[in-house]
């Protein structure tokens, strides 16, 4: 099915989202009713998801016979499905989490635009489309971070994310220009063919990787993360933890089996290994000492992205011959599985934060006595975060670390599990606060009185917890899907 006759079919979902964003904008400016825009936007997201599932079109998009700009492989389409699921789950959060004052139709527009960028990113096959998709993903998020304009922290978060994000984009662009200078090419295939470990190419690759690492909040490019997570409106924080991480990781997979493969792979892999270990260490340790829940979850993101990089390090060093295709697929699918599960967990936890207006760890005291169902669901999500079987977080770690062990990165996997023990401490601590501590009635400025979580948000948390449990006990369907995607990355 073609959406518009002159547009290639694989572009349909992205186009649907982009046009949907414009339509939402129009609809919003005429009705000025946020719920109309949100309803419409969620229908658009659903339609795009349905389109991708019903008629997944693959193919390469080029401009008048030039180099391939976008390669819609099964891999790109599968990642797009996951991203759309996460965006759909985040939509009600966005509705509930900004307060009636700032609940505007434009929120839905920005969500659709960010999702458009996110689903184009895994299809990028050219430095130009890579950059455009990355910025299309980032700019709506910058605006969303600053959405509560009367709140100093939100404005600061938006500004900080924008300034540092622009710096990272600048570095990426500069890196791209160096890659171009080294090879004279911009599309991934030619870059891959001409990759030589010359200083020019390596510096270019390092700068591009720095931009990617910034979006993934890998240490040492993570400094913005706690501040932005804390300042941004909570649903936007949920989006930040779910969408860009998965989309950029998918792009990274394509870079690692494409332009950064071959002679440069070893150096890129070692560099990524350093970032991964640093992220796991910093994220796991720093999360323990946080009193603010959103800062805690920010460090948790840093640690978890570090865990997800473990299979990608292994992926970087693998030769792309037929003997290793299965292992490459396993590594790529392991990272995607991990980040998708992490996205689900984050959305669930942030939904609870929004529903209860929880800001500090102390707000959770005695939650199990006040709202047992909610506390059970959050407990499942937190145990999953800690990697305790039979929850999805454990399966994610299993599927992420097994390819690393198979590829000979056993030591890195060992470091990973050691830090996952350290990281389990903060999850357990939160469970302890929720379940073991007595509820407190003291309301201070630091710990405002938490409100009871209403049923819609409770249902969101419970749905995410249920998904996490189901994926943990029956991982095969999702894993098979991702494994199939991993065999057709380009």
């Amino acid at each position: 099915m073609t959406f518009l006759p002159m547009i290639p079919a694989p572009l349909d979902p992205a186009l649907l989202l982009a046009l949907g964003a414009l339509a939402t904008l129009l609809l919003g400016s005429f009705t000025r009713q946020a719920w109309v825009a949100f309803l419409f936007a969620s229908q658009i997201l659903l339609a795009a998801l349905g389109l991708l599932l019903a008629t997944p079109a693959t193919g390469a998009i080029s401009f008048e016979g030039g180099p391939v700009l976008l390669a819609f492989s099964p891999f790109a389409n599968t990642v797009a499905v996951l991203l759309l699921v996460l965006a759909l789950l985040a939509t009600p959060l966005l509705w509930a989490g900004v307060g009636t004052e700032r609940r505007r139709p434009e929120l839905a527009v920005l969500l659709l635009l960010a999702t458009t960028g996110a689903i184009l990113l895994p299809a990028a096959n050219h430095l130009l489309s890579f950059y455009v998709a990355l910025e299309l993903l980032s700019f709506p998020l910058y605006v969303l971070c600053a959405w509560l304009r009367d709140d100093a922290k939100s404005s600061e978060a938006g500004l900080k994310y924008f300034v540092l994000g622009s710096l990272a984009s600048g570095l990426t662009l500069f890196g791209m220009s160096l890659l171009y200078a080294a090879t004279g090419a911009l599309d991934f295939q030619t870059l891959a063919a001409m990759a030589e470990p010359t200083p020019l190419y390596l510096v270019g690759a390092a700068l591009v990787m720095a931009g990617v690492a910034f979006k993934l909040s890998l240490v040492p490019f993570h400094f913005y993360t706690p501040d932005v997570y804390e300042g941004a409106p909570t649903p936007v924080t949920a989006l930040l933890a779910a969408l860009p991480k998965l989309a950029v990781a998918a792009l990274l997979i394509r870079l690692l089996v494409g332009p950064f493969h071959g002679p440069t792979a070893l150096l890129v892999g070692q560099g990524l290994a350093c970032l991964a270990v640093a992220s796991m260490a910093v994220g796991a340790v720093m999360a323990i000492v946080q009193g603010n829940l959103k800062r805690l979850l920010a460090f948790s993101t840093i640690a978890n992205v570090g865990f997800a990089m473990v299979p990608l390090v292994a992926l970087a060093g693998l030769p792309a011959d037929s003997n290793h295709l299965a292992l490459i697929a396993a590594a790529a699918s392991g990272a995607l599985f991990y980040l998708f599960v992490y996205g689900l967990t984050s959305v669930g936890l942030f939904a609870a934060l929004i529903g209860g207006n929880f800001t500090t760890v102390a707000c959770l005291k005695g939650l199990a006595k006040r709202q047992p169902l909610l506390a059970t669901a959050m407990g499942l999500l937190l145990f999953s975060l800690a990697g305790i079987p039979p929850l999805a977080g454990f399966m994610g770690k299993l599927l992420a670390f097994t390819p690393a062990v198979q590829a000979g990165w056993g030591l890195l996997a060992l470091i990973g599990v050691v830090f996952s023990v350290v990281a389990s401490a903060y999850s357990l601590w939160l469970v302890k606060v929720m379940v073991f501590d007595a509820p407190t009635q003291i309301t201070t400025k630091a710990t405002p009185q938490a409100t009871p979580v209403a049923w819609p948000m409770q249902a969101m948390v419970a749905a995410c917890a249920l998904l996490v449990l189901l994926v943990g006990v029956f991982p095969a369907p999702l894993q098979t899907l991702l494994l199939a995607a991993g065999t057709a990355i380009y």
Binding site: T402, V405, S420
Partner: protein, 496 residues
């Protein structure tokens, strides 16, 4: 199908207990736990002790692309431990009949734990084993943290992090072995693992040991146990001592001994010494305790030291002894923790100076306590004697001096158990007991029901130990050649 039902039935009952109305929770939990006990009957009668290999096997696809399957199957060792677990669960449910704080969640934790532990003993796929092994931490974490004593939160966190840290090392080792072998069915790992170079075997042995040594717990990794025991509610302590400590020894039997014979030959002497030190050290520490629950907790460490010695003795006698001690300790220490629970329920104290003179106030209780005490000090005729004798006799040829040291620990064992008995039953009643005379009622019918099966098993297994030993004769015999054939080859540094 029996094994998967045995795993799922308690877990399903646990989920039901969470949502069931308050008045139905306890009968439901009892029904569920009795149901799994009944399910053990076809296992026991249908089990063929002479057959080689696993029985009641089941297999389902789980993550086929990685070679991970849901495979279940048991041998005699697993069967004995399954029987123990499913016997203890209805008893602790019955013993916790008076637990009124959040009963639904409490019973759900108990039954969930029972189902997961059944899973550990029945799993023959490493990943499945790990899933059950780790998931069993969650209910016990909640049991200690929610229904425990004063410093329950600290104890729960310490328990969780200690055991979690140990077992993730095992996970990486298992991932390595699974990827090398191309399957995660650990019963098929043998030939591949035996061919590994010694250094690799030692590393992998160490990783598995890290998980199981914490769980057993082996000296010097035992410090979490007294904390967890003292803070846990009675039911938690009973399950912890009765079943969960056996998971460590079971893991050693399933992984360390059959897979890494060269590493076992190399490291067994050190581990036997560690076991001997545990026996004596824990016995001495138990002697000076004034909290009776802590005393019994340290006695667990002491007994498990003897299990360690038997396991690494490399003799069939030692292995039989170790297994018997595991079962006996499961019965006797469970009984002793229940004994302590009975006092605590009545007097809300566990301090020796607050007790005494209960023999005259509670004669039936005194009878149960003395019988359990005699089994704990291994009096001939009780089940404790057979296990300790075989364990020590089996260890002696391999490590005479360590065994000699451990034997002194057995004497100290008698000392602290007699100190315990005197303090509770026979010393002059403390002022505290005198003040609370009315509370000191003898065992109720329900409590007798809890104790009777345990008290009956003491003489039965003491006089007819072969009832249990016949179950595991076959798997023990297959474990030994792998250990013994390597003894004549000295490990030289030049060996790869």
């Amino acid at each position: 199908m029996v094994l998967s039902t045995l795993i799922l039935l308690p877990i399903a009952t646990a989920l039901l207990a969470l949502v069931a109305p308050r008045s139905l929770v306890k009968p439901l939990a009892l029904l569920g736990s009795l149901g799994s006990l009944v399910l053990c009957w076809p296992l026991y009668t249908g089990f063929n002790p002479a057959a080689v290999g696993l029985q009641f096997t089941e297999s389902y696809a789980w993550l086929p692309s990685l070679g991970i399957h849901v495979t279940l199957g048991i041998d005699g060792i697993a069967l004995a431990l399954l029987l123990l677990n499913n016997l203890l669960t209805p008893l602790v449910v019955l013993a916790s009949w008076r637990e009124d704080r959040n009963t639904g969640a409490f019973m759900a934790c108990l039954l969930g734990l029972a189902g997961l532990v059944n899973g550990v003993f029945a799993a023959t796929d490493f990943i499945l084993f790990y899933v059950f092994f780790e998931a069993s931490l969650i209910p016990l974490y909640l049991l200690i943290g929610l229904w425990g004593g004063k410093s329950r939160v600290y104890a729960a966190l310490k328990f969780f992090l200690y055991t979690f840290a140990g077992s993730v090392l095992m996970l990486v080792a298992g991932l390595y072995l699974g990827t090398q072998a191309g399957t995660f069915d650990f019963t098929q790992w043998g030939s591949m693992a035996h061919a590994l170079p010694l250094a690799m075997q030692v590393v992998l042995f160490g990783a598995f040991l890290a998980a199981f040594a914490v769980k057993i717990p082996m000296w010097p990794l035992h410090t979490w146990l007294p904390d967890a025991h003292v803070q846990a509610p009675t039911a938690g302590s009973v399950i912890l001592a009765g079943v969960l400590l056996k998971l460590g020894a079971y893991g050693l039997l399933r992984f360390n001994l059959p897979l890494f014979p060269d590493a076992v030959t190399l490291l067994a002497p050190y581990l036997m010494w560690a076991g001997a030190i545990a026996v004596v050290y824990a016995a001495l520490v138990a002697w000076v305790q004034t909290d009776i629950k802590k005393l019994i907790a340290y006695s667990s460490v002491s007994h498990m030291g003897l299990v360690t010695m038997g396991l690494f003795s490399g003799t069939e006698t030692g292995l039989h002894g170790a297994l018997l001690i595991m079962i006996n300790h499961g019965i006797v220490s469970a009984g002793l923790f229940l004994i302590i629970g009975v006092i605590y329920e009545r007097l809300h104290t566990r301090e020796m100076k607050n007790l005494g003179g209960l023999a005259t106030l509670m004669p039936g209780y005194a009878f149960a306590l003395v019988l359990l005490m005699l089994a704990a000090v291994a009096l001939p005729g009780t089940n404790g004697f057979v296990g300790e004798f075989l364990g020590l006799a089996g260890s002696f040829p391999s490590a005479p001096w360590a065994t000699a040291l451990a034997t002194t620990g057995v004497i100290f064992g008698a000392v602290y158990m007699l100190v315990f008995t005197r303090a509770v039953l026979f010393q002059a009643p403390s002022r505290f007991v005198a003040d609370h005379k009315a509370a000191c009622t003898d065992l109720s019918a329900r409590e007798w029901l809890v104790f009777l099966p345990l008290l009956l098993l003491i003489p039965v297994l003491g006089l007819k130990p072969h009832l249990a030993m016949d179950l595991w004769r076959q798997p023990v015999a297959t474990l030994i050649p792998e250990v013994r054939t390597l003894e004549p080859q000295p490990v030289s540094p030049t060996q790869p």
